[in-house]
């Protein structure tokens, strides 16, 4: 790492900051170990997604403007969350007078997986992770950021997370019956449509359990928090790790 290498602003979503600091640490360490210059702007806050998805995008002008200002100085912004990155890209309200900075942000913000594969051009990471791993594709990452081809479309199949994980020594990638069905978290949906959310989460979990998944991973802790919450309530024997934690552990 040298002072001239691109400067990455680390964006840690609020619920990751509060509930899953280890995912933030893994993301930071992983990027640092790959030679990146990374800083975490201390005064960052929530990106505003919960408000916007609940129908109050117009009340997020303040948080969006703050976000644009805070991350303005960085060459890249990277976050271990497809959902929050998609929100910043697609659902920030237009901020008057900051059009240029907002436009730049749109193109320099990346979800961690795509930053590794598309910017750092890592296709065959070296490392060891001898476990049976099931991948939960978060919808916002999958269909929003196109981190993987969706099963509905007739395009050449690809999956950026699979590309990274399947090269790790000993890792068994598990194909699910329904490879990209939503887990039912959906932000406020998890509480406003509680019965459905729970049913969807149970079904998703069942798919992983039926395929004897040992560790369920993904790029969004929000989905995983929901699935883990169900698994722990039901006393299921399955572990949960963010993709950053697996890569950081394997590539150390």
């Amino acid at each position: 790492m040298n002072i001239h290498s691109p400067h990455i602003g680390l964006f840690i979503p609020c619920y990751v900051d509060q509930f899953y600091p280890k995912v933030g640490v893994a993301t930071l360490e992983l990027l640092e170990n790959l030679g990146c210059r990374v800083s975490y702007p201390m005064d960052q806050t929530c990106c505003g997604q919960p408000m916007a998805n609940a129908g109050y995008e117009r009340d997020t002008i303040g948080t969006s403007e703050r976000f644009i200002d805070i991350f303005g100085e960085y060459d890249y912004v990277v976050a271990p969350s497809g959902s929050c990155v998609l929100h910043v890209k697609e659902h920030f309200p237009k901020i008057q007078g900051k059009e240029e900075a907002q436009h730049q942000l749109h193109h320099k913000i990346f979800e961690l997986t795509e930053f590794l594969t598309d910017v750092l051009k890592i296709d065959k990471p070296t490392g060891k992770f001898p476990h049976r791993v099931g991948y939960h594709a978060s919808c916002h990452g999958q269909r929003g950021l196109r981190l993987a081809s969706s099963s509905e479309m007739n395009i050449s199949p690809f999956n950026k997370a699979k590309m990274l994980l399947e090269n790790l020594e000993g890792l068994e990638w598990v194909e699910l019956s329904r490879k990209d069905e939503c887990c039912g978290f959906g932000g406020t949906f998890a509480v406003t449509e509680e019965a459905l959310s729970l049913r969807m989460g149970k079904d998703r979990l069942e798919d992983h359990l039926a395929h004897e998944v040992e560790i369920l991973t993904g790029g969004d802790m929000s989905c995983i928090m929901h699935l883990q919450g169900i698994a722990s309530r039901e006393g299921r024997k399955i572990q949960f790790m963010h993709l950053a934690e697996i890569l950081n552990q394997a590539m150390k």
């Binding site: 806050t45 109050y56 916002h140 007739n154 919450g229 169900i230 309530r233």
Partner: protein, 452 residues
């Protein structure tokens, strides 16, 4: 009933809900497989989307062209601004014919207008001739799906219903046996009807003809035996040229049921000697939707139902949970335009997973429109409390200090509150899910200690 209430009711019968999900997943999967057998599938979707864009941008011209050519072909054209006018026009034609019994093939538009109860009130017997529609008509229910109207019913339930209505053997659930009973029953109705009503899948502006797609041939059977054919058509059903049909017919059946093509794609151009064809062109809120920039392209919909089959919500909550004529994702972006208050919970009955958008053969950005409807609905129908609390949260997150404090408070509260409080029944997160274990410090605190 709001969508969340209806969905929890539906989910109470867990075995049936699972069966419903799996049945529709089967159709979804079949569609996925057949769409992948067409190398140019995504190009077809683009083409269909662009043709419909063209239609919506020039709708007034295409409508005039369609009317002119249809009149030339000897078809009677009627214009209806809303459901009431539509129903009056249909009744007027029936009364002129002194007709008291009609057969009707599947038409979601007539469901939208509640034509059946209107005609029945006016002394006319209406028989739906699509098998699924006949089944739900026997039960006095609306269709629960626009392509598979009785998909919410199991074989056993249909067997029981037919035993009651058609005197079939009790307990005989053989589909071929039951279908044959329906066929014999419907044959009498076909022979007795002087007027047949159909929907319209596509109206061709350049020729003034229209196309009706069915799998059972019931539209043709009804129309050819009757003296008068009334075709009820939404004004958005137009395509410019006959040549464009190839694009849509290739997409429609594959998207709907995973078949290569619907069994009967019947073209109607001009009446046989001595017979009549009437087309009723209906607006009923469509021009209002056309004027809403963010929502106008919902009018591209060709009613294939693929968004319902792929929707993880629809599959687990059933068509009736939506309380709208068109259920599922597409219904949730069409219905608020008709009655925002009544349908205010529908755009929230989604995780915004985007599967509907990726499956849509005419590339309607359904999940983005769900998001946009949320923004509209909260402006006029937001509960004050919700609005305030969201504002509060937004204000909280605006100040880094407040966010830090609230985070600490939140974490220590989770640690110290008794479990019974966190998992109180009114706390809908905790009903079936545990909360994450609370870490000793936030990432921010860790970073401060270890990196700065």
């Amino acid at each position: 009933m709001s969508h969340p209430q209806a969905a929890s009711e539906f989910l109470k019968d867990q075995a049936k809900a699972k069966w419903h999900d799996e049945t529709l997943w089967f159709v979804r999967d079949k569609r996925d497989r057949i769409s992948k057998s067409i190398p140019e599938w995504e190009d077809l979707r683009n083409l269909a989307s662009e043709i419909k864009d063209n239609v919506l941008s020039n709708l007034e011209n295409y409508l005039v062209e369609f009317e002119k050519n249809a009149l030339k072909n000897g078809i009677h054209i009627h214009w209806a601004k809303d459901a009431e006018e539509h129903n009056q026009i249909v009744l007027g034609i029936l009364q002129k014919q002194k007709c008291t019994a009609i057969v009707k093939s599947k038409s979601i538009l007539t469901e939208e207008c509640h034509l059946n109860p209107y005609l029945e009130k006016n002394g006319i017997e209406v028989v739906d001739t699509d098998l699924g529609e006949r089944i739900v008509q026997f039960l006095n229910q609306p269709p629960s799906h626009i392509v598979l109207p009785a998909i919410h019913l199991k074989k056993g339930e249909i067997s029981e219903l037919f035993h009651e209505k058609l005197a079939t053997e009790k307990g005989n659930e053989d589909p071929a046996y039951l279908t044959n009973a329906a066929r014999l029953h419907l044959r009498e109705k076909f022979l007795g009807a002087k007027v047949a009503i159909t929907g319209v899948n596509f109206g061709v502006a350049e020729t003034g003809e229209f196309v009706v797609c069915t799998n059972e041939g019931n539209a043709d059977m009804g129309v050819h035996l009757a003296d008068v054919h009334i075709a009820c058509m939404g004004i958005e059903k137009l395509i410019p040229r006959r040549a464009d049909l190839g694009v849509f017919l290739r997409l429609l059946a594959r998207s709907a049921t995973g078949q290569p093509v619907t069994n009967y794609n019947s073209h109607f151009r001009s009446p046989s000697p001595g017979k009549e064809i009437h087309i009723v062109l209906l607006d009923n809120g469509r021009t209002a939707q056309l004027a809403r920039e963010k929502f106008r392209n919902s009018l591209k919909c060709i009613r294939c139902g693929a968004c319902m089959n792929t929707c993880p919500i629809y599959r687990r909550s059933g068509g009736y949970s939506y309380g709208s004529t068109v259920p599922g994702p597409i219904g949730s972006i069409l219905s608020p335009g008709l009655d925002m208050k009544k349908h205010s919970t529908l755009p929230f009955a989604s995780t915004l997973c985007g599967s509907c958008t990726d499956v849509c053969p005419v590339k309607i950005n359904i999940h983005e429109q769900l998001y946009e409807w949320r923004q509209e609905i909260t402006k006029t129908h937001g509960e004050l409390g919700k609005s305030l609390s969201m504002k509060l949260a937004s204000a909280l997150f605006k100040s880094p200090l407040a966010y830090k404090i609230s985070g600490n408070v939140m974490r220590s509260a989770l640690k110290n509150l008794p479990k019974s409080l966190i998992y109180h029944p009114i706390n809908s997160w905790g009903k079936g899910r545990n909360l994450p274990e609370t870490p000793s410090e936030s990432f921010k605190a860790w970073y401060q200690k270890n990196r700065s």
